[in-house]
């Protein structure tokens, strides 16, 4: 089972980009979303992103892009060999959607959550066969960044891990295998860093430009934490921080006032044109 047909749940920034990655490697993809506006835009969006990926030399040149099928019906995942959940980072929504997938998916299909921070074992409670669920934390955009976090939940089976590894190989991605827990590796560290960086700006200790310049200039990071936050989307950052705060009780993850205010003002970062920086 190497993933002949994919279904991606959620046509947001990540879902669309994951579908682009799959289509660009020749796999047919079904994209499921409940928002008609997103469904209408998704094919053109994926075509544009395929062009970007090709321009950057990040797609195989001898492959015909896989067909993209948008639908609002979760029943369409019945045909898929792999289902990748990439909806909003809200535990109750993910639990509901994964339960619905479980009811219609074919036996043996691999279930993947692209969650930022929710433990895989917690999500596994919502599916009929918890062993078939693994986490894959794709980076943004997944067709330009080869490495992904591949998360093995305590109940994920060897078969599921092998299927996930085969899928990532087919997609030209390189897994970093990690264990389960809130935020896994990257977001357990990164979300706290972003929150602290926002607090520093809030306290007037440094501007967003200065915070990022310290990380890029002094530490040699490719981007600073606040530019990274803008790329992720500040709405997603707040959702992830809440997930982490609720599960760890660690005050370092409690979203700071400046982050909350930006989200309330609709300044989500790159996707709205304004976050900590203007885009």
């Amino acid at each position: 089972m190497s993933g002949e047909r994919l279904a991606v749940l959620g046509a947001g920034v990540m879902g669309t980009a994951i579908a682009t990655l799959a289509a660009g490697h020749g796999l047919p993809v079904t994209v499921v979303d409940v928002d008609p506006a997103r469904l209408e835009a998704v094919e053109a969006d994926i075509r544009g992103q395929l062009r970007l990926a090709q321009l950057m030399g990040k797609l195989p040149t001898d492959v015909t892009p896989g067909e993209v099928t948008p639908t609002d019906s979760i029943a369409a995942v019945a045909e898929a060999d792999v289902v990748i959940e990439s909806i909003t980072e809200r535990p109750e929504l993910k639990a509901k959607v994964l339960a619905e997938v479980s009811a219609v998916v074919r036996p043996g299909a691999l279930l993947v959550s692209n969650t930022s921070a929710i433990p895989i074992d917690e999500l596994a409670a919502s599916v009929t066969h918890p062993g078939r669920l693994v986490g894959i934390h794709f980076m943004n955009p997944p067709y330009l960044i080869r490495a992904v976090e591949l998360i093995r939940g305590p109940r994920s089976t060897d078969t599921a891990m092998a299927a996930a590894t085969a899928l990532l190989d087919r997609l030209g991605r390189e897994p970093v295998v990690v264990g389960d827990g809130p935020g896994f590796v990257i977001n357990r560290i990164l979300q706290r860093t972003i929150n602290e960086a926002a607090r520093i700006v809030e306290e007037g200790i440094a501007t967003p430009e200065a915070v990022d310049a310290a990380f890029t200039g002094c530490l040699g990071h490719t981007t600073g934490p606040l530019a990274t936050a803008d790329l992720i989307g500040l709405d997603n950052v707040v959702d992830s921080l809440r997930v982490l705060h609720e599960r760890t009780g660690d005050a370092g993850y409690e979203p700071c006032a400046l982050l909350l205010r930006k989200v309330a003002d609709g300044d989500f970062g790159r996707k709205t044109g304004q976050g900590f920086h203007r885009h």
């Binding site: 062009r51 950057m56 040149t61």
Partner: protein, 92 residues
């Protein structure tokens, strides 16, 4: 994959001038036609997509297939050659 829709004649000088003006407007700097835009750090490689979109709309082209390659957008000279080639192919 690449096509053109606008058959108005276009010269190398006109393409070059258009691109230099576009880059100057976007980067606030005068650009040498042979400067490697990406290697010089003037723009990120992601900016190449904006160059593609600009060339397509300014010269009535659709750039696709093997033409969609970063090396074709590295310098103003290279982009000028691409535009002229695509327009010639379409006219011929």
């Amino acid at each position: 994959m690449s096509t053109t829709t606008n058959r108005e004649p276009v010269t190398a000088d006109a393409v070059r001038a258009d691109l230099l003006a576009f880059l100057e407007q976007r980067t606030k700097q005068a650009v040498d036609p042979d400067l490697d835009l990406f290697a010089s750090g003037l723009v990120s490689s992601m900016f190449a997509m904006e160059l593609v979109v600009h060339l397509e709309s300014a010269f009535g082209l659709t750039i696709g297939g093997p033409d969609l390659k970063l090396d074709h957008f590295r310098t103003v000279t290279a982009m000028t050659a691409l535009v002229l080639r695509l327009r010639e192919t379409a006219d011929g």
